[in-house]
């Protein structure tokens, strides 16, 4: 019989105790793995969202940068507006390759769904498709002319409202009816929930917004000129400039603070689990004093006893690591569901990503914890004198 088999059989002499200890380790590893998966997934999803914006700089009216960042990612009502003339002036800068004026208007529609809902209209120019070449059509095509009374719908909003090309939609609070000429394929971005109009059309539908913009997206000719362009734009009164790197670092900064807090909790959970393992194995060693004595009497050396007790600890922690990793892997979508409900903004795509390397890392990490946790009880068992151990157990 080899060490591992003997260690396995020893472990299940006290089934409930061993199961509870493995359970504690499982919970700790599952929490830690889910958190690490969330951290990685959120960052990847956020980067994906920002990359799909299609521009590197966003110019908005001066206000709170966090509000601006949120607006940029999710849209929103009661926004501050910038002057359209300023936007035109910026767009004429030769260092700008493309500019995308945007006007977001949110309207509450009491007839939407069962309890009503907000419709987001986004006024854009033809440059939209230049800056976002990955946006393809599920049905129909782009607007025929700049001032036409037509809309293009994002995939999700079209699906929600059961619209198809050729359908007509009524704009709440107005007497306007527009025709659907295109529906985008699902992009996995916030654009899936938008109803697009040409900028002139949106101004015509909502005349009080004429000459106003909520933002101007800029794609620069030369990426190395970005810091200089950003500095120059700051000289323009009443506008603020948000670079994608800035948005990313702002959100990741907030995430980092939350991560430190949550990682601290996870570390405490792991420490408690490790102490539980040490306690379980120490109790097991104490109860099996006589058995350890007899093992020495039949030829086990100090190193053999150390290896045996250590193997038991490694098995408990290793199994806890495997079950914890699998729990996080299987329960990842559930964790994602709760996080999405708890956070105000979450990027599109999977925000909890339990990859194979993370899964293997968790199992290896838990086993390494077992390596450390097993040292004390293993040394204690190995240092017993055979004759004392045999008689102490009687």
């Amino acid at each position: 019989m080899r060490f591992l088999k003997l260690a396995y059989k020893n472990m299940f002499r006290r089934k409930i105790r061993s199961t509870l200890t493995i359970g504690g380790m499982t919970v700790a590893v599952a929490v830690l793995t889910s958190l690490l998966g969330f951290n990685r997934g959120y960052q990847q999803a956020l980067e994906g969202d920002l990359d799909k914006l299609g521009y590197q700089l966003l110019v908005t009216a001066k206000g709170c940068p966090y509000e601006a960042a949120t607006m940029m990612l999710s849209g929103g009502a009661d926004l501050k507006y910038m002057d359209g003339e300023v936007a035109k002036k910026i767009s004429r800068d030769p260092r700008i390759e493309h500019s995308l004026p945007q006007l977001i208007h949110a309207v509450y529609d009491p007839d939407r769904g069962e309890v009503g809902g907000t419709i987001l209209y986004l006024g854009v120019s033809d440059d939209y498709l230049v800056l976002k070449p990955w946006m393809t059509f599920y049905e129909g095509s782009w607007f025929s002319t700049p001032q036409v009374m037509e809309v293009v719908m994002g995939y999700e909003v079209a699906e929600l409202e059961q619209r198809h090309v050729g359908d007509q939609i009524f704009i709440p609070d107005t007497d306007m009816i527009l025709t659907v000429v295109g529906i985008f394929e699902r992009s996995g971005t916030q654009d899936d929930g938008m109803i697009f109009m040409q900028m002139d059309t949106l101004h015509k539908v909502y005349p009080h917004l004429d000459g106003k913009l909520t933002g101007l997206g800029l794609k620069v000719q030369d990426f190395s000129q970005l810091p200089q362009i950003e500095a120059d734009l700051y000289q323009i009164p009443n506008v603020q400039v948000i670079s994608m790197a800035q948005v990313k670092s702002t959100i990741m900064g907030l995430m980092k603070s939350a991560k430190i807090l949550v990682m601290s909790v996870a570390t405490i959970a792991l420490s408690v689990a490790a102490i539980g393992v040490i306690n379980t194995i120490s109790m097991s060693v104490f109860e099996r004093t006589q058995e350890i004595g007899i093992l020495k009497a039949i030829g086990a050396s100090k190193l053999d006893i150390f290896r045996l007790i250590w193997s038991e600890t490694l098995l408990i922690c290793g199994l806890g690591g495997v079950f914890g990793g699998l729990t996080a892997f299987i329960g990842g979508r559930g964790v994602e569901f709760f996080i999405r409900r708890a956070l105000a903004y979450t990027p599109k795509g999977h925000i909890v990503v339990i990859s194979w390397d993370l899964l293997i890392g968790s199992i290896v990490g838990a086993t390494m914890l077992g390596v450390i946790a097993g040292i004390y009880p293993a040394i204690r068992a190995a240092s017993m004198q055979p004759i004392e151990a045999i008689h102490r157990g009687e």
């Binding site: 019989m1 003997l6 058995e291 007899i294 020495k296 009497a297 039949i298 030829g299 050396s301 055979p386």
Partner: protein, 226 residues
Amino acid sequence: MIYAKSLTKTYHLPSENIHALKSIALSVKTGEFAAIMGPSGAGKTTLLNLLGGLDIPTCGTLRLANQNWNKRESARVKMRRQLVGFVFQEFLLLPQLTALENVMLPYTFTKQSDRQHAEELLAQVGLTERIYHRPSELSGGEMQRVAIARALANRPQILLADEPTGNLDIHNSQLVFDMFRTLSRTQGLTIVVATHNFKLAQFADWISYLKDGRIVSGTRERGAQG
């Protein structure tokens, strides 16, 4: 096979020194079956522990199989693996293992593994039908026979048994001592048994009497049942 001279064991306690063995002289030839008798506290267990390398003598000479006794832990481990087999009053079987696994337990700590030999030993002690039974499913006599088979698993030259029948009825006790005698006669195994049962000690080739840590008398005449 076993040669001890002036073998002494003193336990140094904070309040007093306890002289468990006082200058013991003992010689057991290869294939002999010796019984050590004496009242409780006479030093029988201490003597067996010293002979088997489980404990360290305070002073004296001890030779086993023409090898000088060595104080080093590694040498004593080697002695327990290769030279000596132990049988205790408490059977000390591992409850989670079957009879066969208990007999094969010594192989966990050596490079050899001989399932066939373990099965033969269990057959030799009359437990062929019980090899997959756990200790909780065996009687006291059967458990002690498993313990004897385990002690023989590494093919030792010396078998040391400390009150092996202390927890057995008279029938099983006689069975065990008869088994010891057979092993010494047929396989040339050197056996030293500590017992306080004079009738059972008669199975041995000779008997030594221990009292207060000293051998007070001994006989080389075969016991009455020999």
